[in-house]
């Protein structure tokens, strides 16, 4: 039974499959049909968040299967996904990469937005300090991602460095298909101006990051 | 009547250590609810303890003590079989007394 064909036929929770090696990834009882049924009965709409969020895009589907994602066949697929994510990056409409670092710090500090208890009218935060050290003055930071201290000093401030950072923040999967970092611009978490402000936090010589 | 306290009292080398876990909201009177109204202050103001029939401790508390307060103190004297009794009174005039045997 072709898994792609079966998948298309499943009404409720549609899982977007990419690679056939999936058959060995999960043990008996955890096949696609059983898993889809478990998702269907396992979640419900709450507040502004609907169960539609369970539908995966190609990148999420690929990265949800570590056996495949870490395989040799997976490496090829990962490159394709990176290219696709890079192609989807929206560059700044006014051509400016940098905004206001003080606003960037506020966005980095805020973890608000998009949960079922967040009001949709409220601005989303970037969650950045959850995972990264950024300004040394903030000791309450996570270690899921690398330190961003001295970002501009280390990466430089030329066009290439700015573009790379922009692409990373807009769509982290453009350079690492299974990065743990969210795709802030691509997924509509942050707006263009928010990302310009975060870029300033990383690149501005006045920013605490570069002092 | 308010929910019971959990009291443990153990005597060792002439000192009885008492540990009390109290069930109380301890509302500071500074918080606001979802509509913006102040949540009224509701907190324990007095705590006292007796060993058998003797008063051994009294305390005045304020709103900075957290919800479900945990309180430990030592009494000179006391032996296994004695009774420790703890009483609290809050700013609404509610009160609660619980006893425990010293082990």
């Amino acid at each position: 039974m072709s898994s792609i064909g079966t998948c298309a036929a499943l009404a409720a929770a549609v899982l977007a499959f990419a690679v056939d090696a999936r058959a060995q990834s999960w043990g008996p009882g955890a096949d696609d049909k059983a898993f889809a049924e478990m998702l269907r009965t396992g979640f419900r709409n709450a507040g502004p968040v609907s169960v539609d969020r369970l539908v995966q895009d190609d990148t999420q589907a690929f990265c949800s299967d570590p056996a495949v994602a870490n395989s040799a066949a997976g490496a090829k697929r990962a490159e394709q996904l990176e290219a696709a994510n890079l192609a989807a990056v929206k560059w700044p409409s006014d051509g400016r990469f940098l905004g206001d670092w003080r606003a960037g710090e506020r966005i980095a500090q805020s973890g608000r937005g998009l949960t079922w208890t967040d009001a949709p009218s409220q601005a989303n935060g970037g969650n950045c300090y959850n995972c990264h050290q950024i300004s040394l003055a903030e000791i309450s930071h996570g270690t899921l991602g690398p330190s961003l201290h001295n970002y501009a000093k280390l990466k430089g401030t030329d066009e290439r460095a700015l573009r790379d950072a922009w692409a990373k923040i807009w769509n982290s999967k453009s350079s690492n298909a299974c990065s743990n970092m969210p795709r802030a611009g691509h997924m509509g978490i942050l707006k263009e101006k928010d990302i310009q402000d975060i870029m300033a936090l990383l690149f501005s010589p006045d920013s605490p990051v570069n002092k | 009547m308010a929910n019971p306290m959990r009291i443990r009292a153990a005597a060792k080398d002439g000192i009885t250590e008492v540990r009390v876990l109290m069930n109380h909201e301890m509302e500071t009177g500074q918080r606001r609810d979802a509509s913006g109204a102040i949540v009224p202050a509701w907190f324990i103001q007095e705590v006292s303890a007796r060993l058998n029939d003797k008063d051994v401790m009294s305390a005045q508390w304020g709103p900075s003590i957290a919800k479900n307060p945990y309180f430990a103190f030592k009494i000179k004297g006391g032996k296994a079989g004695d009774t420790v009794s703890v009483t609290w009174v809050d700013n609404r005039g509610d009160t609660r007394t619980d006893n425990a045997k010293v082990t």
Binding site: C131, N180 | A66
Partner: protein, 272 residues
Amino acid sequence: MAARTKVAVAAAACVAIALGFAGVAQEKDDAAKGIEAYRQALKDGNPAELFEMAGEELWLKPAGPRNASLEKCDLGLGPGVVEGAYARLPRYFADTDRVQDLESRLLTCMETLQGIDTRAHVEARFGTPKKDELVALATYVAGMSKDRPVDVAASHPKERAMFELGRRMFFYQAGPHDFSCATCHAQEGRRIRMQDLPYIPAKEGAAAGWTSWPAYRVSAGQMWSMQWRINDCFRQQRFPEPVYASDMTVALSMFMAATANGATMATPGIKR
């Protein structure tokens, strides 16, 4: 008149001061050490005990249309056997022909023994009375497995299936942030803000999580069961809301418990 010893205790006595520990440390190492010391201090005198007491009362109290208590509830070791039951959950139950965790099994007993329609309990928000009852019951039962070894071998075929489904769910990425459980819990030695994250796919990390919930969260002044913990993880992952005691939640618990097999139950726990 007996001598009174007036002790001004407001500042000295209470460890869980509402204002919390304000870290003045400049170095992140000092901050992490300070928080660790605070966590150690919290362990003496766990408000969870108040919930254990409340849970035991609910266990013994006749309720529902059948006006029956939960004293005949079979949590896996036979009707009414509470001691050690939590350490052997989740597990397969022949009477319902499915794998169940503690909270799912409590619902079953409320239905079959007490005749209660538990849909309202399933729908209720955490922190409201019907969920509070279940959390108190869960805390009581979990506390009766304290210091016991986790004994969840996932040997029955349905248990194995649930384990695999739970493992698959653990890695399932979705939502605007692309988060899965694995995003936070599948790397060793990391933390989110100042909260250390256990590595759940291996025994030590799975045990750090599995053996310490239900737990009292000091910062919130709330008692949380494992179902509540899972619920709030998904909220922060920007997922839709889990259905209380659904197979999905039981599968995740099965994955954690079986991975933690052999570790020692430290329930109920206490958290910042």
